[in-house]
């Protein structure tokens, strides 16, 4: 919005610039002349001036002169100087002598009198400017009283030029002035016609107009070729101000339909610059002529409300649906162009009008908001960080931390040796995320209570910064597991109770776990061994190596170190490894995957030998084929960088849907998307997603294609179709072919600061240049420097002999102050601007 206003203002400035640069203008606004002789001798040919003659001892009504003075400034822009001529007492000439001449103002061009105005017609700036310009633009602005006069002018203009017809209830009003000022600029281009007759207005318009308000319409006479036909009219819908008239005339001046053969993103027209939308009619070679007529028809309907452009699709490579026939570009920067499939021209018009209405409402709202903001001081001091606020609302609750040992610089190292593995939470007691994690950690402690060999502890880095930096903890929170004789492992997963507990439990067992016998290996795959992990149901990984394949085994072990705590990994390289691998029909080095408690075991060859590749492969293999997406597991699937085919379900999905989706997911091994589902009962935030996409919650289950990584379009699987592999596949094909219209697009918005900061720089500035107290302060806050002034009661000697040092300082400071001032002021302007950009 502000950008648009800027554009308006700049065009107004441009307008004024034109106006002021045509005639030369005087430097002073209101001239004073000593005598009429002096005045008349100074008149230059072709120069216009408005003169007031006053007796030298002016009884002058002060407000009247103020109006004249300010009108002098306004008229200066139009090359008219305003002069106050003092009449000497004895003068009895034409202008000074007569009593009634003194109640008039005289408009001269050169020394020729153009018009006399009674001063009571010049009651304010508007009336002075309006009347003077009216007199000057005698030819450019025709005054009409009857319909016949108007029709005469119209007929003369037809086919030649356009007409601006204005009705003002009275002359000398602000609207009158606006029309005159516009005529000053556009008078040579369009014929201006003015009336004050209410009857004439009524005669020219179809419905009953409000005669108490001014009215302006643009008559397209240039296009009208048939003498019998009246010119088409486009009324100005906004109030009559110079800015609105200017804008209206600009729009009328623009071509009706712009023909473009360029990417719509790059197109900019007068309409967009003036904050109006631009409608593209997408055309093809075959239908071009018909489309052009449609475009013109629409353009007439939308004249003054939106621009219309005709775009030949043959000339431009457009990456949109073939069916799309209309595109809408809004002036708001960063808004993507909407491509639509519309059936009727009315739809186009409603679309634009609705947009404008919404925008109007938004603008109003925004203004209201701004007002509120000012009153509310922007709510800057209200916490809007959900984590910080939640933690501070929870601070009174005492946490059950008895299970968690407090470690200090003194007992840290001794405590580490007490348990087989010590979990340490490094945190800062003032930091919100740390405290949030501490809460989950206390739940973990309750959860793991009684687990042998695990000691949960914490270090407050605010108390023991030395210890934390010694342990190389630079961020809070950090969780590490220290084991005797091993390198500590830093936790890198979600800060949730479940995830943490599982990490701690899995870390208990070495990773990978060396299995000694076939039986152990089998029990391991069934999830029965080791017993510590029997309560946790993870996918088990078993690396099978013949002793010869040591390189792969080393990589596997290294990968195990990296994945420690996250994955259940075992390894078997006894002599009968071959027998084990044969059982699952693989040959070592191989990887066996036992999902869901060993009911199914998959085997695959371990072909990759680099640690990174192996880690990546294991991570990939652990992903489900048709997973239920939850808050904790989404990042794993996001990392694949693929679009999501996601089924939203109010609860568990039905067998049928599950089967179909699984078929779809399994059917294409190297597929280009993530097929998944979301249980709204388990992940209620899914409702938030649906509301963002559709405003309401559509009927469930609902299958969506979400392009999370490219473009952000959301497509909705037609609800009338049933979710079967076939239907989905054919829908996906249509999607790929660009035949479907997205239901929604993910916001492209950047994450900007939610609220402004206190602008201390600006607040400090008033006090900077003078080094004086801030005007708004209480005197006590910054006591003014009063040498000796308030030391009454101090020692007298001090005052008798002011110390050299202090005087030197006092003399010195203003000097320093002055030296710094100039560059600082210069710098300050820049600062201010820069800061507002931030």
């Amino acid at each position: 919005m502000p950008a648009q206003k800027d554009r308006w203002v700049s065009s107004l400035i441009f307008l004024l610039f034109c106006a002021s640069s045509i005639p030369q203008c005087g430097s002073a606004s209101l001239q004073q002349e000593l005598s009429p002789q002096h005045y008349f001798s100074g008149l230059e040919a072709g120069k216009t001036s408005l003169a007031f003659f006053t007796p030298s001892v002016s009884p002058g009504a002060q407000p009247f002169w103020e109006q004249i003075e300010s009108s002098a400034e306004a008229l200066q822009d139009y090359g008219v100087s305003v002069v106050k001529v003092n009449c000497p007492k004895e003068d009895v000439s034409r202008y000074c002598g007569k009593e009634n001449a003194l109640r008039k103002a005289f408009l001269f061009r050169g020394n020729r009198l153009i018009r006399e105005f009674p001063t009571d017609a010049l009651f304010d700036v508007n009336s002075i400017v309006a009347n003077v310009l009216f007199a000057l633009l005698f030819n450019e602005v025709k005054y009409v009283e009857t319909l016949a006069d108007l029709e005469n002018i119209e007929n003369v203009l037809k086919g030649k030029s356009n007409m601006v017809f204005a009705y003002v209830p009275a002359t000398g009003t602000a609207e009158h002035r606006a029309v005159m000022e516009a005529a000053f600029v556009y008078g040579t281009i369009h014929q201006f016609v003015l009336t004050t007759e209410a009857a004439l207005l009524k005669a020219t318009s179809h419905d009953d107009p409000d005669v108490s308000s001014a009215w302006l319409s643009f008559c397209h006479c240039q296009r009208a070729t048939e003498p019998a036909q009246p010119c088409r009219r486009t009324a100005l819908a906004q109030p009559l101000t110079l800015l609105n008239i200017h804008r209206h005339l600009k729009l009328m001046g623009a071509p009706l339909v712009t023909k473009v053969a360029e990417d719509p993103e790059k197109i900019s027209t007068v309409h967009l610059q003036l904050g109006l939308p631009l409608v593209f009619i997408l055309s093809q070679k075959e239908t071009y002529e018909a489309d052009r007529r449609t475009a013109e028809f629409v353009a007439w309907q939308l004249l003054g409300k939106a621009g219309v452009a005709l775009l030949s699709r043959d000339l431009v490579e457009l990456n949109v649906l073939h069916r799309s026939n209309v595109a809408l570009k809004t002036p708001d920067e960063g808004m993507p162009i909407q491509y639509l499939v519309l059936e009727d021209t009315d739809e186009v018009i409603t679309l634009v009008e609705d947009k404008n209405k919404v925008k109007q409402i938004q603008e109003d709202e925004q203004e209201e908001e701004e007002d509120e903001d000012e009153k509310e001081n922007n709510n800057q001091d209200i916490q809007d960080d959900q984590v910080v606020e939640a933690v501070s609302r929870d601070k009174k609750r005492e946490l059950p931390l008895e299970q968690i040992l407090v470690l200090t610089e003194e007992n840290f190292h001794s405590s580490l040796s007490e348990a087989a593995s010590t979990v340490v939470l490094f945190y800062a007691s003032w930091e919100a995320v740390s405290l949030a994690v501490l809460r989950s950690y206390s739940e973990v402690a309750a959860h793991l209570k009684g687990t042998p060999g695990v000691l949960l502890s914490r270090v407050n880095c605010w108390d023991w910064p030395g210890l934390c930096s010694q342990e190389n903890v630079t961020q809070f929170p950090t969780i590490r597991i220290y084991k005797e004789g091993q390198q500590s492992v830093t936790y890198g997963g979600m800060w949730g109770t479940e995830e943490l507990s599982s990490f701690i439990l899995l870390s208990q067992v070495s990773c990978p776990l060396k299995l000694a016998t076939m039986d152990e290996a089998e029990r391991y795959l069934r999830g029965e061994f080791p017993s510590e992990l029997s309560s946790h149901h993870h996918t088990s990984l078993l690396g099978v190596f013949s002793s010869a394949t040591s390189k792969a085994r080393e990589a596997f072990e290294e990968a195990g170190n990296i994945l420690s705590g996250h994955v259940r990994m075992g390894m078997y390289f006894e002599d009968d490894a071959l027998a084990l691998s044969r059982k699952y029909s693989v040959s070592p080095p191989a990887l066996l995957l036992a999902r869901s408690g060993g009911r199914s075991v998959e085997g695959m060859a371990l072909s990759k030998h680099s640690v990174q590749d192996m880690v990546q492969m294991i991570r990939y293999e652990l992903l489900d084929i048709f997973p239920e997406i939850t808050v904790p597991n989404l990042p794993q699937y996001l990392q694949l960088g693929k679009p999501f085919l996601i089924l939203f379900s109010a609860g568990d999905i039905s067998q049928v849907e599950s089967k179909e989706m699984l078929k779809l997911a399994k059917g294409r091994p190297q597929q280009a998307f993530v097929a998944c589902w979301l249980n709204l009962k388990k992940t209620p935030v899914g409702y938030g997603i649906l509301r963002t996409y559709f405003s309401t919650t559509p009927p469930l289950p609902l299958l969506l294609w979400v392009n999370l990584h490219a473009g952000g379009q959301v497509f909705k699987f037609p609800s009338e179709q049933s979710i079967t592999e076939m239907n989905i596949l054919s829908w996906l094909e249509k999607l790929q072919a660009g035949l479907e219209i997205p239901s929604s697009t993910l916001s492209e918005e950047d994450w900007k600061p939610p609220l402004p900061a206190y602008n201390f720089l600006q607040m400090m500035e008033p006090s900077v240049p003078e080094l004086s107290p801030h005007p708004g302060d209480t005197p006590a806050q910054h006591r003014p420097k009063s040498p000796g002034g308030d030391t009454a009661g101090g020692d007298t000697a001090a005052r008798e002999e002011p110390s050299q040092e202090s005087t030197a300082e006092e003399v010195g400071s203003p000097g320093r102050g002055l030296r710094g001032t100039a560059p600082r002021l210069a710098a300050r302007d820049k600062q201010g601007k820069r800061h507002s950009e931030l």
């Binding site: 709510n379 809007d384 800062a428 808050v631 990042p635 309401t696 900061a757 006591r783 710098a827 931030l838």
Partner: protein, 675 residues
């Protein structure tokens, strides 16, 4: 033949007789030992020269009355060792926790002997290489293009032994007494030698020249036994609690102010000592007169012929004769041992007792010569603590870091963090950092932003006087903008004539933080590193040029800047607006929603949740966030499909931004602390 002789002597001068070290440190006082510690830790080739047989020889004699005025606060209620150093003004920096001063003395104002013992332990426990009984009596330069700075420093000791070094660190302190010469100054006793036994002053009338801590310390000692004490000096007394400068008169020494203001005969006077004259009468009493009266007279004519001020002005203040006059005028740097080629010049004005140095502590005249410790106080004289142990222990470390970068290619130590840690890293430092706190407005923490502000680099305690040279001095790059974090007192708060106890002196509200008077953190944001010119043209009284944006963290009664709403929130808003991003933390659930509804994610989701470190949050916390209106609970709201929603498009986000329920801080309580 002559040529040959000349050549051989040259050889002797430049060759074998020199003992070479990369670094030579003059003086094994606190600053010299501190420098030695850092050099030792870095494994550098260095030697410390000490004229006495033990370290800290100045403390063996001074202060004469043996009470140190640097506080030894043994309890703060906190275990944070860095924070506690803020209130430990005597310890030097080391990794050895035995070397904390609170282990040496239980006194709040310890005895100077303890300091000597401490320094001895510091040197011996850390095995610092100190060569005792070596008084450097001459320092000169030897040009050599191979040398680090284009020359070597040649040092000569009292035994004419010569030493050669690449870099000279002068930590010799200021130990030459300031002396004023006026007619009769021969009757004046010096602080260095005056008796410290109060008995010697019984029933005497004493005039003390000077108005510093040594003068008041001397007065304090004899206050109870003298008839009265008068003190005279050129300038008004400057009270450290009014000036916030620890070198001004400390409350522990100001007993005489009490007796003066209560009209108990003692008194203070201002006058230029240069105008003074002292004449001794026949009874041995000392009379004050003016040099001006003496100029026309023949002194030898005897006291009777000399005009005394009271002859003309019969109520002249110091008309009573004195038994003793004691000079307590402080110390100055010993310039005498430096060859002219080193251009060791005294400063101008009130810093003439110190050598001229740059804000990097390098001598203005000689490259490679750094002044450390008390002698380096010209950088922040009457402003900060650079002349005192608790200040120069940090500036010494800063100099060491500059040298490591300059000569050994070791860049200034820094840590790189993701941008989500920005607010935290600042809050952590302003709450515990001691160097920032003691060396306020002199040392600053610098945050260098990295590529697109997704990460930043944190540098601690860099001297802001050389901010413009940051890239060259630290070996770090500052091309994406930077934050400078310093501590400041209010601009018009401190001064000799300021009332620092007026009502409402403390600011409680974050929005008025820029008017904070007491020491508080200030963060400057620059889009580009300020140039040397901008540094020169900075506004008067500003430690730094005008920034692109500035933030004051409101002063705090407890100097604890961890309040979520008053301290952290406004700081976050400032940082967000400088970087044009959203630095809020989000629970994993919110990130999940954003991931499905936005193409871009806020940094905390991007670096946390997407990097598998999402903040799941406990049930209670999420409940609180829902109650605060910052998180939407979808569990109970919307089960019937197709029901019209409570709010239109983007309701969640709207909610996030507008945050429904206001949480008003209890403003009246915040402000109540002054009343």
């Amino acid at each position: 033949l002559g040529l040959a002789l000349y050549a051989s002597s040259l050889c002797a001068v430049s060759g074998a007789t020199f003992l070479y070290h990369d670094y030579c440190v003059i003086g094994a006082g606190p600053a010299g030992l501190q420098a030695a510690y850092f050099l030792q830790q870095a494994g550098r080739d260095y030697i410390v020269f000490e004229r006495s047989h033990a370290p800290g020889s100045f403390f063996a004699l001074y202060p004469r009355h043996r009470k140190l005025i640097s506080i030894n606060k043994r309890y703060t209620g906190k275990s944070n060792s860095e924070f506690n150093l803020r209130h430990d003004w005597n310890s030097l920096l080391s990794h050895d926790r035995r070397l904390l001063f609170r282990r040496y003395s239980r006194d709040f104002f310890p005895n100077a002997d303890t300091m000597v013992r401490y320094l001895e332990d510091f040197a011996s426990l850390l095995k610092l290489r100190v060569q005792y009984n070596t008084a450097i009596i001459h320092v000169t330069l030897e040009k050599n293009e191979q040398a680090w700075n284009g020359h070597y420093f040649l040092l000569t000791d009292q035994d004419r032994k010569n030493y050669k070094c690449s870099c000279l660190l002068v930590a010799a302190g200021t130990w030459v007494p300031n002396v004023v010469n006026f007619p009769g100054s021969e009757y004046v006793e010096g602080y260095e030698t005056v008796s410290i036994n109060p008995e010697d002053f019984t029933g005497q009338t004493v005039l003390i020249l000077g108005r510093g801590n040594s003068a008041f310390e001397t007065a304090e000692n004899i206050l109870g036994v003298t008839n009265f004490i008068h003190m005279v000096s050129r300038s008004r007394v400057r009270l450290s609690w009014a000036t916030h400068y620890v070198g001004d008169l400390r409350a522990i020494n100001n007993g005489l102010l009490d007796t003066y203001q209560l009209k108990s005969l003692d008194g203070l006077l201002e006058g230029d000592l240069e105008d003074l004259a002292i004449v001794k009468d026949k009874k041995g009493k000392l009379h004050i007169t003016l040099r001006f009266y003496l100029e026309n007279r023949n002194i030898s004519a005897g006291i009777d012929s000399i005009t005394l001020p009271q002859d003309e002005l019969d109520n002249f203040a110091t008309r009573a004769p004195y038994d003793r006059v004691i000079r307590c005028l402080g110390w100055k740097f010993d310039f005498s041992i430096y060859n002219r080629s080193l251009r060791m010049m005294p400063g101008k004005g009130n810093i003439k007792k110190y050598p001229q140095i740059k804000p990097s502590y390098e001598s203005k005249g000689t490259q490679g010569l750094f002044v450390l410790g008390t002698a380096s106080h010209s950088v922040d004289f009457r402003k900060s603590a650079g002349g005192f142990i608790h200040g120069f222990r940090y500036t010494t470390r800063a100099v060491h870091r500059l040298l490591e970068n300059r000569h050994h290619g070791v860049p200034w130590p820094s840590t790189v963090y993701p941008i989500t840690q920005l607010t935290n890293s600042i809050i952590k430092r302003v709450n515990e950092a001691s160097g920032l706190y003691q060396m306020f407005s002199v040392l600053a923490d610098i945050i260098l932003l990295r590529d697109n502000a997704t990460a930043f680099e944190y540098l601690e305690e860099y001297p802001i006087g050389v901010l413009a040279e940051l890239e060259m001095q630290t070996g770090r790059k500052a091309c994406n903008g930077l934050f400078v974090i310093i501590m400041e007192y209010g601009r018009n708060f401190s001064g000799a004539d300021k009332d620092v106890f007026y009502y409402n002196r403390a600011v409680g509200e974050a929005q008025h933080a820029w008017q904070s008077n007491f020491l508080h953190p200030v963060i400057y944001y620059y889009k580009h590193l300020p140039t040397e010119r901008e540094m020169r043209l900075r506004p008067p009284d500003w430690p730094l040029p005008l920034p692109n944006a500035i933030h004051h963290i409101v002063e705090d009664f407890l100097t604890d800047w961890t309040a979520p709403n008053a301290h952290i929130l406004p700081l976050r808003r400032f940082l967000e607006n400088c970087l044009s991003t959203d630095l809020r933390n989000f629970f994993a659930e919110s990130c999940f929603l954003f991931a499905f509804t936005h193409q871009k994610l806020p940094p905390s989701c991007q670096q946390g949740y997407i990097g598998m470190q999402g903040l799941v949050g406990s049930q209670e916390l999420r409940q609180h966030a829902v109650q605060a209106g910052l998180l939407q609970d979808y569990t109970h709201t919307d089960f019937s499909a197709g029901r019209p929603p409570d709010s239109h498009d983007g309701s969640q986000q709207q909610l996030m931004r507008d945050h429904g329920i206001p949480v008003r801080p209890l403003q009246h309580l915040v402000n109540a602390k002054d009343e």
